[in-house]
Amino acid sequence: MAKVTRKFTVKRQPEAVIDYISDVENHPAFIPPLKSVANIAGDPKRKGTRWDWTFVMAGVEINGKAETADYQPGKRYAFKTTGIDSTFSYSAEPAAGGSQVTADVVYEVPQGVLAKVADKTVVERMNERDADRAAQTLKTILDS
């Protein structure tokens, strides 16, 4: 399994940060390769709520499913994806002027998907770059 972590500060309180991130329809706004989310079956803050996602990787649209794994108001939001097994978790802690946000992604890309899309090293490099862009974009949005 590969892991990507990013930490950054934003000028919003932890409650507002986790509130924004736990609205999964906001995810395409700050996760660059995520094209859309759809068919959200309930409140994404509730554990077990499921939805569909569409990712674009190396010019290929990949569709899969996700579900909420954890939600702690003002502290943490996490969800898991299936098909491409991954866990995304976002946590926020008070910091001077706002919050320190930590974004962790643990993932494994199945061989079948890799064969159709790109080499494993290339995928990992793309994901590192996407993590940088996601962190910068989320910071830009929340600092407004």
């Binding site: 706004a29 700050f30 859309s36 290929v60 649209e61 098909g83 407004s144």
Partner: protein, 160 residues
């Protein structure tokens, strides 16, 4: 002649792609500019005969396509759905905006920006972006708006 045929083939495939698919389909004016620019440069480099016909023709096509560089074209769209998509996306990136008869007015970094919203023909719309979209927040908004609809040339799909 080969270059012109290749150019016409791209246009034909694009037209088929629009005709045979459900919308909305988004095409950025910048992409059109790139296609026309590459074609013009190829004509300048290789000078296919009659050069006195092709060079001025593609120079004009390239020049005119600069006029649309800040415009996005939406095929097979719906006015209400397109407006809703724009407004929803702007709200999701926490950008404030106001609506007027021409489209949307915004501000990034204290400098104005706008989206001019025009219906060119039934189902065919043009969105023109003017002002300070170079601000980081403007770029974030543009990237999210760009995820609307489908690209002109369909992508392969994989379900996992």
């Amino acid at each position: 002649m080969v270059i012109t045929l290749a150019y016409l083939a791209v246009l034909a495939i694009a037209a088929l792609s629009v005709a045979l698919r459900h919308g909305p389909i988004l095409l950025r004016g910048r992409s059109v500019l790139w296609l026309n620019g590459i074609t013009f440069v190829a004509h300048v480099l290789f000078r296919p005969p009659p050069a006195l016909v092709w060079l001025p023709l593609f120079a004009i096509i390239f020049g005119v396509s600069w006029l649309g560089v800040d415009t996005w074209f939406v095929f097979k769209g719906d006015a209400a759905l397109l407006a809703n998509a724009i407004e929803t996306r702007l709200r999701r990136v926490l950008v404030q905006f106001s609506r007027d008869q021409n489209g949307y007015r915004l501000s990034f970094g204290g400098r104005p920006a706008s989206i001019r919203f025009r219906q060119i023909a039934p189902g065919f719309f043009a969105l023109t972006f003017r002002g300070n979209w170079q601000d980081n927040r403007g770029k974030v908004a543009l990237r999210f708006l760009r995820k609307y609809g489908e690209p002109l040339f369909p992508r392969p799909r994989l379900r996992v």
